[in-house]
């Protein structure tokens, strides 16, 4: 390596094994992204609220059999969505760690699926509505949610794709540099 002097110099620094072990343990916790207490309380609250909402929506659907089938579908879909959030929160709490690659992508996907579901439902229900004004507002509100979730999802995907592409190019570039180095050594022989 080019920093040979740096490596040799840094090796001269004596290390206390106890301090080092303590540091290594702390570092392990940092890189595992263990949830702090405030984070745990926040995730727990979101999970509990999601369960509460799911129960409420399911009970409304069960307590009002007179509602049209589409309304039941809407309530059931929303309850499932709330339960999915609760499962994600429960899983995060059980692991006690935050995976930068997994949870944000799952949350984005969940938000997008729900927004599509909600907007589709509003569009289907709109022609049946007695008050066109109310349903226009509902559709527009659904559009706002849909667009917000869409932008979030697209932003995350674009960022990931861009990084993945750059990584692929760099891997190729690195391979080429390796080949060039090997070729130079071969020519020297």
């Amino acid at each position: 390596m080019k920093h040979d002097l740096g490596d040799r110099l840094s090796e001269l620094e004596p290390l206390n094994p106890d301090f080092r072990a303590k540091y290594a343990q702390s570092l392990k916790d940092i890189f595992e992204r263990k949830l702090s207490w405030t984070m745990k309380v926040f995730v727990g609250s979101v999970g509990t609220a999601s369960i509460g909402i799911a129960i409420f929506l399911a009970s409304v659907a069960l307590a009002h059999p007179e509602l049209p089938a589409l309304a039941h579908l809407g309530l059931a879909g929303s309850a499932v969505f709330s339960l999915a959030w609760a499962v994600l929160c429960g899983w995060t709490l059980r692991k006690g760690t935050w995976f930068g690659k997994i949870q944000p992508a799952l949350a984005c996907a969940l938000a997008w699926i729900f927004a599509v579901f909600l907007e589709t439902l509003f569009l289907v229900l709109a022609p049946l509505a007695p008050d066109p004004y109310l349903w226009t507002v509902a559709i527009l509100a659904g559009m706002v949610i849909l667009l917000g979730a869409g932008f979030q999802l697209i932003g995350t995907r674009v960022q990931n794709t861009e990084l993945a592409m750059r990584e692929s190019f760099l891997r190729m570039e690195y391979r080429l540099a390796e080949l060039a180095e090997a070729l130079a050594k071969y020519q020297q022989k």
Binding site: K2, H3, G6, E13, L163, L170, A177, E181
Partner: protein
Amino acid sequence: MAEDKDLIYQELLVLRCQRGDRDALQELVVTWERRLFYFLRRLGNEEQDAWDLLQQTWLKVLRGISTLRDPRQLAPWLYCIARNTAISHGQMRSLHREKLEELPPPSDTEDDPGPRNFDGVEQIHFGLLQLALPHREVLTLYFLESMTIEQIAQVLEVPHGTVKSRLYYAKRALRNILTKEDQRDNEA
């Protein structure tokens, strides 16, 4: 050629860290922790404090790695974070009070003692401990990473001219210390 390969690998490592690859983060730590620890120790920190500061440094690196636009600037970026973490630590702040009188930059004709003029890593290690803090930090960066004037200026957040001047006088001070030490050894 090998230098290019190292730079590409470094860029790749940063990118993998930015994508949240835990193995890449661990590799980053393994690659840099000894030298960052050495730097933090040279900034006048006790060993336990240096470990704590290094841990805080990694926490900041983890939070900020996605903001690093030019992965080729990884080394100055890491040292800058480590130094700022140490500065926010009380002990280093007090040590920084021992300010040096900034001397004028040397003329181009003056003899510049390059790194090869210092023989023996042990000697450099010993000599660094005897220097005043501003000289010590500039020379530590110079020896540890072979950083350019621009990169050292970036880490220390001072103008290029100041780095050039400090580097020159620091090397001279180090050479004086080592010469005196040699003379003492010869007399003994």
